[in-house]
Subunit: 366 residues, 2 copies
């Protein structure tokens, strides 16, 4: 394995995804949507949710955990809400359609709210929230997800890292795009620290006895063994002193809206396994919402205020040693411009994995 970082044009990686998804039996349209969401993560610098996940999706389809052609059905519907059963299919295509439905409902009655159940990993939450922007709507997206988070005062992982995303347009400034896990950090960050032999900052992780720990190795070991002992702290850290109970509350909020409400799996029921340890369908659920801005206030006025809000923050005095105050989404938009120009940097492991997938499926990639 070489040690080089490979820079590959987004279009070439997208091509690879399209062909891989086609080989796995997805329709052209579903493959296109899924490739689009993966590449959107890679462009925005969210490497953990881009083509680095291609193997995860391929394995999911191979194991029968994700159906390449799952049949999504609308279960219930009102003028402003709907519930879709994803039929155990891939997470992205049903999510794009659910968000489109939320947007259409918002267009008709002001606000749209669509839940999805019986789904799978849907990529970056922010993608769906951002779908609302071209319509001058506010977009919201949430999902429950793999179990890594320990509740306040607990010792076992019981909940997902459950992200929340909200996007709102601006006029001359960039849109506001918040896309955040409700855990203090993603699990991948523990793996990075472990690889570098670094201690974790206080408040990130919890050991098998429920105590704060600075050692990523044992937490990772337990997770890999499929035990739920120890895990990540919610946003706000361990205990209540720095508001860990608030982060735990946000994790639960997402689990209630995405898991309990649509009748999806939730808490430590998600990502179940057979007694032999084989993965079963993840059973997760999602929430998509869209709000028509001009149902509340003229869009131009709203956007002008969004610009003003952003400029106030950017022009505010900086902390010593800092030269910039950021708006959420800003770093990612800038990264997308760079990566669109210079290509997507793939670390050697991801590059090797993609070569392997391509070769196994007899798809050209070099």
């Amino acid at each position: 394995m070489d040690n080089e970082v490979h820079r590959i044009p987004a279009s070439r990686l997208k091509d690879l995804c399209l062909q891989v998804f086609s080989r796995m039996g997805m329709t052209d349209e579903d493959g296109r949507l899924t490739a689009e969401v993966l590449l959107s993560a890679d462009l925005r610098g969210i490497d953990s949710h881009g083509v680095a996940r291609l193997g995860f999706y391929v394995n999911g389809m191979r194991n029968g955990v994700m159906l390449p052609r799952g049949e999504a059905l609308v279960v219930t519907e009102t003028p402003s809400t709907a519930l879709i059963d994803a039929g155990g299919g891939m997470g992205v295509p049903v999510s794009v359609r659910a968000m489109r439905m939320a947007i259409e409902k918002a267009r008709q009655v002001g606000m749209g709210w669509v839940n999805v159940r019986n789904s799978n990993h849907y990529g970056i939450a922010g993608y769906y929230a951002m779908m609302a922007l071209e319509h001058d709507f506010i977009g919201i997206s949430m999902t429950n997800s793999a179990v890594f988070v320990v509740p306040t005062f607990g010792r076992d992982s019981m909940l997902g890292t459950n992200p929340i995303a909200l996007a709102a347009p601006a006029l001359h400034e960039r849109p506001f795009v918040l896309d955040m896990a409700t855990s203090v950090v993603p699990f991948g960050k523990l793996e990075t620290y472990n690889r570098l032999g670094k201690s974790l900052p206080p408040g990130w992780a919890i050991d098998e006895n429920g105590n704060p720990t600075s050692d990523p190795a044992t937490v990772i070991e337990h997770a890999r063994a499929g035990s739920f002992r120890g895990g990540l702290a919610p946003l706000g850290g361990t205990g209540e002193e720095n508001g860990g109970h608030k982060g735990y509350g946000l994790v639960l909020l997402v689990d209630i809206l995405c898991g309990v409400l649509p009748g999806a799996l939730y808490a430590n029921l998600m990502y179940p396994k057979t007694e032999e340890g084989h993965p079963l369908p993840s059973g997760i659920g999602h929430t998509f919402a869209a709000l028509r801005i001009d149902a509340i206030r003229p869009v131009d006025e709203f956007k002008a205020s969004m610009d003003d809000l952003q400029r106030r923050l950017k022009d505010a005095p900086k902390a010593e040693g800092q030269d910039r105050i950021y708006i959420h989404g800003e770093k990612e938009f800038e990264e997308a411009e760079r990566r669109m120009r210079d290509g997507i940097p793939l670390n050697p492991k991801v590059y090797t994995d993609l070569k392997k997938i391509a070769s196994e499926l007899d798809v050209p990639f070099d």
Copy 2:
């Protein structure tokens, strides 16, 4: 001033509020709603938002900053959304009506979303979210609020402590009621530490140079002087290491939905003052939303899953030294039972303030 904690029955404090609000010129109905929300905070143990605020409301009405009979008007409306201009009136009555409207819209089209602008302090966010519970709906409430929060990498207070509340019913278990400021702690907590001569835990506050500080005194001094130098960190603390940028994102999310969207004030425009330092109307805004659970899934199934979710968490293994994992709202429901039975404990300062208000307005209270 005596040093005793006075325990007073909720009904007597409510009576006091009713008479005070009547003297200030509020209608009986508006006074009743406002007293109800204040006492609900006192019962639930959120002392900072109960009768301790009565003087703040009385002063607001005396200064002309809050109109006792502000005229609220529906500005825009769609089947699922509305915008109400509160006309500079008291925050509570318009908020109760806005939440009722959101609930009615949810009943009719599945989901309701109502914004309020040109309003004032509305008490505890959780009250409005909880109004949805008796209808078996999910309730959401948010507001922007007085400027105490420093954005990540900033040095000045630029944003409110902007709370988020969500309530969802359960079957045999208590409802889930999340009601959280998006700052790491409320400003009042700095005052408590200052009074006790204690140092602040790391990550709570930021000094006038934008550095983390453990000294509450100077932060409080700047706030009292009406300068915006230093302030509270968002949930996640100072900097980005523990996710302070996520908390900052949640603060902004609330400011966008409650301030920018309805055309209310936002960021450091809120709670403006004249050049001489006299307060002007706060100009804040709120968001209320209701979601009909049975638009998505049968209510009984939803509630049974809520019970199961709660029991899974409560029965999960505890951290060393802990004997309980809480669900949000649980502590407050238990406190409300105690206080309904034993009375509301008032510290000497609050008790003295109430006596003074009563005496000034010629209302019996002893």
